[in-house]
């Protein structure tokens, strides 16, 4: 086996690392980027990246569903919520603010502002600590568990669609039905919660069929 061949065999791994980097960076940006619309679009990128990893892991059906559900429905729902409500409150900077008031809102006194900023910084530090601790513990556990080394893509006998279909409608039939009930409940709940009260308009039912309300409703349904 020549060096070139080794290089080629390394390609999927390389792709995996690239995708992983994209996912992690965009996930990081979701939490940090100033504008919330950008955060939502970074979320889309992260979702797409995860779908790519699914493909590398040989779960093509899941990759398709991932894009369909997360990009086509959930992300669109988020974007709709952000764009429809178009509130300063919702779209303004959120990062860098801790409990007790965000740093961007200027309180009365200078000392108070400084205190708020310190509190915010401490809060960020705390959040980072928690996240790092969690990741560390789980990684340690993974290392310790000695997971079997399985390489993908492994030769699989049947297409994943057949496998998933069979399992979903035999072994997991009850959870499947429960999931559909959960979705239905979420759908009804989301409509009830998000529908605007239109008493003052006197247009009743008609009024909440505008783009905004409809979009929110649709998001629920497609999900």
């Amino acid at each position: 086996m020549s060096i070139l061949d080794r290089l080629v065999l390394f390609l999927p791994t390389l792709g995996f690392f690239v995708l992983g980097t994209v996912i992690l960076v965009s996930a990081w940006m979701v939490g940090q980027v100033r504008r919330i619309t950008h955060a939502a679009f970074f979320m889309v990128l992260a979702f797409t990246g995860v779908a790519g990893v699914f493909v590398l892991l040989g779960a093509d059906f899941l990759a398709g569903s991932q894009v369909l559900v997360y990009v086509g429905a959930i992300a669109v729902m988020f974007l709709f919520a952000i764009m429809v409500s178009d509130l300063k409150e919702l779209s303004g900077p959120a990062a860098g603010s801790g409990p007790g008031g965000s740093g961007s809102r200027a309180p009365e006194g200078d000392g108070e502002a400084a205190a708020a900023r310190t509190a915010a910084r401490a809060w960020v530090l705390l959040a980072g600590l928690v996240a790092v601790a969690f990741a560390g513990i789980v990684l340690a556990a993974v290392a310790k568990a000695g997971l079997p080394e399985v390489s993908v893509p492994a030769a699989s006998g049947e297409p994943t669609t057949v496998l998933i279909g069979r399992e979903l409608f035999t072994k997991f039939l009850v959870p499947f039905e429960v999931a559909s009930v959960v979705l239905l409940a979420a759908l009804v709940g989301a409509i009830v919660l998000a529908a605007r009260e239109d008493k003052d308009r006197g247009l009743g039912e008609e009024a909440d069929s505008g783009a905004g309300a409809a979009g929110r409703r649709n998001g629920g349904v497609t999900a």
Partner: protein, 377 residues
């Protein structure tokens, strides 16, 4: 809070979720240069405030500086889609003021061109209204059929849009050779084409859904706001100057006046559309019984009507065009006041638009068939 054209919203002026959108002056469906300030909540209109004046050309003031005869071509430029009826309203005012008898043939010719003009104008309305509702093809068809009328007018007076055909005391010239035959051809062609339009557009389900129940105006509101023409009749008020206060030779003809019921966009549109059939009937009667004779009374070259004032009105395709003319005995009018139907209808816009959607305001503007030339003057 009132919103004026100069209004800039300050924080707190508008409700949450609301924002202002400028529709026009550059917008494909504002029929000229109209600016409508839309206060919207998502796609729903909270208010629509028309802002006019982009096409103001000082017509009334300019007319004071010109002789009576010279004002005629100027009136063409007001409602440029229906120039003939403008001229008619104006020359009728001058004739009334100066006490001029108009020959019978001229009166009949006036009816003929006014009704041809009505069809041409309604065809433009039909096309642009369809365009407003997103259908491109009816526009081209309507313009294609309007071309027949424009050809007739071109042969009659040499122009296709600003005719300058009416003269004080009559009309400019008699019918050119071949006019009657060509008009009869048009009369034969047009009903089938109108039925095509019905199949293509007026009976289309999407059209009905888009227009029924939209921009509703009650009969009381329509009267109170000074609406006229199809906009008034769409609301169920049976009032047509041609029949109820006949001028020119209209009392010689049989024709129906389509009246709607609910006063929504659909009824207005149907009224306008059916008027085309009635106009065809009138034209046919004119051609059948056109009397011989002069087409222009003897009028002094420098016309000096006695001091006084008159008001005349005619039924233009859009509604009542009224002319208030004051003379001080000189060769030029002392004051010309133009009552434009589109202006009154534009005031109805906020009434009609409230509670509907952004897409509906386009349909509403289309249904009242405003021409900004006569709104701004």
């Amino acid at each position: 809070m009132t919103i004026t054209p100069e209004f800039r919203p300050a924080p707190g002026d508008l409700e949450e979720h609301e924002f202002l959108v400028n529709m026009g002056p550059q917008h494909p469906s504002t029929h000229g240069v109209l600016r409508v300030i839309l206060r919207v909540d998502g796609e729903r209109l909270v208010d629509a405030i028309p802002d006019i004046g982009f096409l103001h050309r000082c017509f009334e003031k300019v007319a004071e500086g010109w002789t009576y005869q010279q004002v005629v071509p100027l009136t063409d430029r007001l409602d440029y889609v229906s120039a003939m009826t403008n001229e008619l309203a104006y020359v009728m005012a001058v004739e009334k003021l100066a006490g001029i008898e108009v020959p019978e043939r001229a009166q009949w010719l006036r009816v003929l061109v006014a009704e041809l003009q009505r069809i041409a104008s309604h065809l433009v309305w039909f096309g642009t209204f369809a365009l407003d509702l997103g259908a491109t093809t009816p526009f081209l068809y309507a313009i294609r059929e309007r071309e027949h009328i424009l050809d007739l007018f071109e042969a009659l007076c040499g122009a296709r849009l600003t005719y300058s055909y009416m003269r004080i005391g009559g009309v400019r010239g008699d019918l050119p050779p071949g006019f009657v035959g060509k008009t009869r051809e048009f009369l034969k062609l047009m009903p089938s084409r109108l039925r095509e339009y019905e199949n293509l557009f007026m009976k289309n389900r999407i059209f009905e859904n888009r227009t029924k129940g939209i921009g509703r105006v009650t009969a009381e509101e329509a009267v109170a706001y000074g609406a006229s023409g199809p906009t008034l009749r769409g609301s169920g008020v049976d009032w047509d100057l041609r029949r109820d206060e006949p001028y020119a030779a209209y009392d010689r003809f049989e024709f129906g006046v389509p009246v709607g019921q609910s006063g929504d966009v659909y009824d207005r549109a149907v009224c306008r559309f059916k008027e085309m059939y009635e106009s065809l009937k009138i034209i046919e009667q004119v051609l059948d019984g056109l009397p011989e004779g002069d087409v222009r009374a003897k009028v002094p070259r420098v016309l000096k009507p006695p001091a006084g004032d008159v008001y005349t009105r005619v039924e233009s395709p859009r509604g009542e065009v009224g002319v208030y003319l004051v003379s001080d005995g000189g060769p030029k009018p002392y004051r010309v006041k133009w009552r434009a139907p589109s202006f009154a209808h534009l005031r109805l816009l906020p009434v009609m638009a409230k509670g509907h959607m952004v897409a509906d305001i386009v349909a509403i503007i289309g249904s009242i068939d405003i021409i900004l030339g006569e709104v701004d003057r």
